[in-house]
């Protein structure tokens, strides 16, 4: 079962992803509401997720920075970047995100990316 860490500063978005991913058989190993919390949880949790779903615009530390920090700890970590800011796609990919989804996206698109990334 693919495990996921969800990072987004909006509780309702975290709940949405959690509802949908759990229904589709994914296991949520953690949630974080800003980049710093994501990095801290990633660092301290002994179980690393198969996939991180990362938002960009968050307080304390943004998604690009958090992606860089996580990949510094584990260069093989798979990060799917999701953002309403399409302009940030290039920066996110340069930081190491392997997929980018512009909000709003269809949940089927997210699942498709999850399957693709998990299979890599």
């Amino acid at each position: 079962m693919t495990s996921v860490l969800i990072v987004d500063d909006e509780l309702f978005i975290v709940e949405l992803y959690r509802d949908i991913l759990q229904l589709r058989g994914y296991r949520i190993v953690g949630t974080a509401f800003d980049g710093e919390e994501a990095v801290r949880k990633y660092n301290t949790n002994p179980e690393k997720p198969d996939v991180v779903i990362m938002d960009h615009r968050m307080p304390v530390m943004n998604g690009v920075q958090a992606t860089k920090e996580i990949l510094r700890m584990n260069p093989k970590q798979k990060v799917i970047f999701v953002s309403a800011d399409v302009m940030v796609e290039k920066e996110a990919r340069e930081a190491g995100a392997i997929e980018f989804l512009p909000k709003p996206f269809r949940m089927d698109d997210l699942i498709e990316k999850m399957q693709k990334v998990a299979a890599q």
Partner: protein, 242 residues
């Protein structure tokens, strides 16, 4: 001091707040869209309820495009025309086709794109891509049919020594609002907003086209037919066509 710079200096935080607010709207739209998809996928919906949910999906996607349009107008207004980068017209048309098909799950589409594989580059950055998308979305809103045929054509034209690409979008079953038929589109800027709101999609296309140094016109396709259909014609600067 240029007029654009004066505007930026007067309201240094305005674009920033607009950006924050629109970001929130998009996040909320994401949640509505996601839960609608869950409802649609959960089964047990009768045909009518499914249709209602599909219509809601269309509206939430339209809402997102409208928010994007507000942002796009602000960004484009503040940009120096020399900063607009070239974009591939074929890529923009393919993207618009995908988006529109996804936006209206309760309708079926027959989209005909130009087969010409020659490189067609227009000046306009993301604004030009948004323009093509908005032409298609606006046209779909004018067409109540269950199955919609959209025909995109391109041709080269020259005005005062400058080269342009002309992009024509036709829909034989669209119904043009009376105001857009009876009066020049410019009048909508001055008219009562309760009337102008009927042509707001076309106005957006016109504003963006003109900001990009081109133009935008609308007309009925066939005055003898019923419905008469509609055609939108955008003229955009050709990359390297000075």
């Amino acid at each position: 001091m240029t007029e654009k710079k004066a505007t930026r200096d007067r309201d240094p935080n305005f674009a920033y707040y607009m950006d924050l607010l629109s970001h929130d709207v998009v996040n909320n739209n994401q949640a509505v869209l996601g839960y609608l998809e869950l409802i649609l996928a959960s089964g047990g919906l009768d045909k009518k309820a499914r249709k209602y949910a599909e219509k809601a999906v269309s509206h939430i996607r339209t809402s997102t495009i409208l928010v994007d349009n507000v942002k796009r107008l602000m960004i484009t207004r503040d940009m120096d025309p020399a900063d607009f980068k070239p974009v591939d017209l074929m890529v923009a048309m393919n993207r618009a086709e995908r988006e529109v098909t996804r936006m209206f799950p309760d309708k079926s589409f027959n989209v005909k794109l130009p087969s010409d594989a020659a490189e067609m580059k227009i000046i306009g950055d993301g604004a030009a891509e948004d323009l093509i998308l908005n032409m298609m979305v606006t046209m779909v809103w004018l067409d109540p049919s269950e199955t919609i045929t959209l025909v995109l054509k391109t041709s080269e034209t020259e005005v005062k020594g400058k080269k342009f690409w002309q992009i024509t979008l036709e829909d034989p079953t669209a119904r043009m609002p009376k105001m857009a038929v009876d009066r020049p589109l410019e009048d909508a800027f001055k008219a009562d907003s309760s009337i102008a709101v009927k042509v707001v999609g076309m106005l957006f296309c016109k504003m963006i086209s003109e900001m990009l140094g081109g133009g935008f016109e609308v007309h009925e396709l066939n005055k003898k037919a019923d419905p008469r259909g509609a055609a939108f014609v955008a003229t955009l600067r050709k990359a390297g066509g000075q």
